[in-house]
């Protein structure tokens, strides 16, 4: 099964995705092939509706492609069943959403700890890890706050911590700064860059923001569900 995938953590091979909207078929992706190397800070750019979110969903194991293959670390995950995909996600994928998506009834601590509890880590170890990362993202004081007691930027920081604390192979962020003002967005971007450097996690970020594109190592450009350009920043 493993192909020439030694240093690619993600490999899409001719992936298509069709949605059935009543009688009409929507081709969200029309045969996308791309490969992302380990530890790379990657962005997907393109106009609204170009297929960025769909691509990220497929990479993150949230939805399956209509046709084509997806290899994560050389393993084809399109054949996984629902349960196996869930286990795959909890171990390998960290999600950062545009709308933060914290669990409202959990404190900041619990939101982050949840990722580790899913991995059956001992409580003591969880505590240490969560405190560590809360310090790292500069939210040590807010450990027992609920999401509704935090600002947008703080919430996104917690969400980033939640995605990173389990040390996943891939961090998937769908327009993570779109709901934040530009200054906060810039700070969040800085934090992600820093964590990418420190922890060596692979970031895949869909974005409209020129700022984000600038700092990215690698950029993929989509239009109408097809990859039209890709390049590496110096």
């Amino acid at each position: 099964m493993p192909q020439d995938s030694s240093n690619y953590v993600v490999e899409l091979k001719d992936v298509t995705k069709k949605y059935q909207l009543g009688k009409t078929e929507v081709h969200a992706l029309r045969g996308v092939s791309l490969a992302i190397a380990k530890g790379e800070f990657t962005t997907l750019v393109g106009e609204s509706g170009s297929g960025k979110t769909t691509t990220l969903d497929i990479i993150g194991g949230l939805g399956k492609p209509s046709t084509g293959k997806l290899f994560i670390d050389g393993e084809d995950i399109t054949v996984y069943n629902d349960k196996r995909l869930a286990y795959f996600r909890r171990k390998n994928i960290g999600f950062i959403f545009q709308t933060f998506n914290l669990i409202e009834v959990y404190t900041a601590y619990e939101n982050i700890a949840h990722s580790l509890q899913l991995l059956k880590m001992p409580e003591k170890e969880i505590k240490k890890q969560v405190y560590d990362i809360m310090e790292k993202i500069g939210l040590g004081k807010f450990i027992n706050h609920r999401p509704n007691e935090l600002s947008g930027g703080q919430r996104q920081r917690v969400a980033i911590a939640r995605a990173l604390v389990k040390n996943p192979k891939i961090i998937i962020a769908d327009e993570p700064t779109a709901n934040l003002d530009s200054e906060t967005g810039a700070n969040i971007l800085k934090l992600m860059q820093q964590l990418n450097k420190d922890l060596g996690a692979t970031f895949i970020v869909a974005t409209h923001s020129a700022q984000v594109v600038q700092v990215a190592k690698r950029v993929f450009k989509l239009r109408d569900g097809a990859l039209i350009d890709s390049y590496t920043n110096k």
Partner: protein, 501 residues
């Protein structure tokens, strides 16, 4: 319901509850999330608890009311001479009415002796008595009607017949004295009272005039004096107790001489006079309209035989029935007695009817209540699932499985059910205590087929079966109704639900 059935019900439901508890409360992180959501959605939780409590506390009270009525009827039936356990000659119960008499027990003293000398049975038994069933005509004051009579054991009479309310006169006493009814009419006491007055009944003319002259005196003479005298009279062999309805039908009074007519063993008619010593009021109207109880010896004289229809065994408590009955059956087998046995339930037709009626009503009401509660909970849970679509999608994205999402919502239902169950019990018990002890019960008219008005109480406090049923129905309803919403939650499309606004 029998004790063993109760215990069985309670045990089974506890086991089910234990299993559910381990399934649903075992996963700590799911439990925490469920608990947090229950606390956070205060409105939903409050409404759900209100629905459960109003439904199930009401059910609990209804059950307590029905159980109280049944309990009263049960004890009254048992203590109307029937006892808890009946022993017959083999074939008696299957025989047709007129043939039953051929299956009477001749050697009943011997059998009673066997039962009385058994050490184990002794622990449960309060009293034992034989009776002789008979029926025929009862006549007096120019009227006659049918009666259903019993020759009863006068020695144990009060113990065995405590459920018959004596509305006038006195119960039967143990005695060998035989006083002719006619003799009673002229006693010293009577003559002393009317000393100096012309005594009515001694002279035909005066008898006619006296009442006209002095009506109040006649009232005293008729209604008070003789009855008082009769009520204080020494017990006699020909004493009889009449059902309240029968007394009214015959216009009979205490101290009256009435005649019983029956057909005897040989088929001939036989008649004997009885003296009304007391009037009894049992639960059933049909019983009160027909019953005549006379001492056994007198019944033998009337029937021209010396045997009994059955032996009735009264226990200290109805709860002993299972154990005592088992022992009686063992004894019958061990001693190779030609006997068959029954329990009071089989003989208490009124009780059976009322019981099955109440059970049907209870069954349908609880079904409706559980249905309403279930739908209300399902509806609220479904709304909650929709509201939390994004949370569900997020949990799935983070790696929670479908099964875990399913369990999350089932746990919420289960926990709400537990809370509702406990609260229903507390509220139900509190209301029952209030109604029983503060309000003093609810006065009720006599139920159909019965003669006694009564005060309804709610047998809830000392009734673990009711607690058990209430609690289980609450948990059951909450649990069942969360299945569908939980299924919906677990089957949500992740990509759509994480972006749901």
């Amino acid at each position: 319901m029998l004790e063993t059935q109760k215990e069985f019900m309670i045990t089974v439901s506890c086991i089910i509850l234990l299993i559910l508890t381990t399934i649903f409360l075992f996963n700590r992180s799911i439990l925490v999330l469920a608990a947090r959501n229950i606390i956070k959605n205060k409105r939903r939780t409050f409404i759900l608890l209100c629905v459960i409590v109003s439904g199930l506390a009401g059910l609990m009270l209804f059950f307590g009311f029905a159980d109280d009525s049944l309990h009263g009827l049960r004890e009254a039936t048992i203590s109307s001479g029937l006892g808890h356990i009946q022993v017959y000659q083999k074939g008696y119960r299957a025989a047709a009415m007129p043939d039953k008499i051929n299956f009477n027990i001749p050697n009943y003293r011997e059998i009673v002796g066997i039962f009385e000398s058994d050490a184990e049975l002794k622990k449960y038994v309060k009293g034992m008595a034989a009776d002789l069933d008979m029926s025929g005509l009862i006549a007096g004051h120019g009227k006659s009607t049918v009666f259903v009579g019993k020759g009863v054991d006068t020695q144990n009479f009060k113990v065995m017949n405590a459920g018959d309310e004596i509305t006038e006169g006195k119960p039967l006493e143990h005695t060998d004295v035989f006083v002719k009814p006619e003799q009673k009419e002229l006693t010293n006491e009577f003559e002393e009272m009317f000393e100096g007055f012309p005594v009515p009944g001694q002279d035909g003319a005066e008898k006619k005039d006296a009442p006209k002259d002095d009506k109040p005196k006649q009232e005293i003479w008729k209604d008070s004096t003789i009855e008082k005298r009769a009520a204080n009279a020494e017990a006699a062999m020909d004493d009889a107790l009449l059902g309240d309805g029968l007394k009214n039908a015959l216009n009979a009074k205490l101290g009256d001489a009435l005649t019983l007519v029956v057909s005897t063993k040989s088929g001939a008619l036989n008649a004997l006079d009885i003296n009304v010593r007391g009037v009894i009021l049992g639960v059933e109207t049909s019983y009160n309209d027909t019953i005549v109880k006379i001492p056994m010896q007198y019944a033998w004289k009337l029937m021209g035989r010396e045997d009994v229809s059955k032996i009735c065994i009264l226990l200290h408590k109805t709860e002993f029935l299972d154990l005592a009955y088992r022992r009686v059956q063992e004894l019958v087998k061990e001693k190779n007695l030609n006997l068959e046995t029954s329990t009071w339930v089989e003989e208490a037709r009124m009780y059976q009817k009322v019981s099955s009626l109440l059970h049907d009503i209870f069954g349908s009401i609880s079904f409706i209540i559980v249905l309403v509660v279930t739908f209300s909970i399902a509806n609220a849970m479904m709304m909650s699932v929709m509201e939390r679509t994004r949370e569900i999608g997020t949990l799935r994205a983070l790696g929670n499985t479908k099964n875990e999402i399913l369990r999350l919502f089932m746990t919420e239902g289960f926990v709400i059910g537990l809370m509702g169950g406990v609260l229903s019990m507390v509220v139900g018990i509190a209301i029952s205590i209030f109604m029983n002890d503060v309000v003093g019960g609810i006065p009720m008219a006599p139920p159909p087929g019965t003669s006694k008005a009564f005060i309804a109480h709610f047998r809830v406090v000392n009734n673990p079966l009711i607690w058990c049923i209430t609690f289980n129905l609450a948990v059951f309803a909450a649990f069942i109704s969360s299945i569908l919403p939980a299924k919906k939650a677990s089957n949500m499309e992740i990509v759509e639900s994480i972006r749901y606004v």
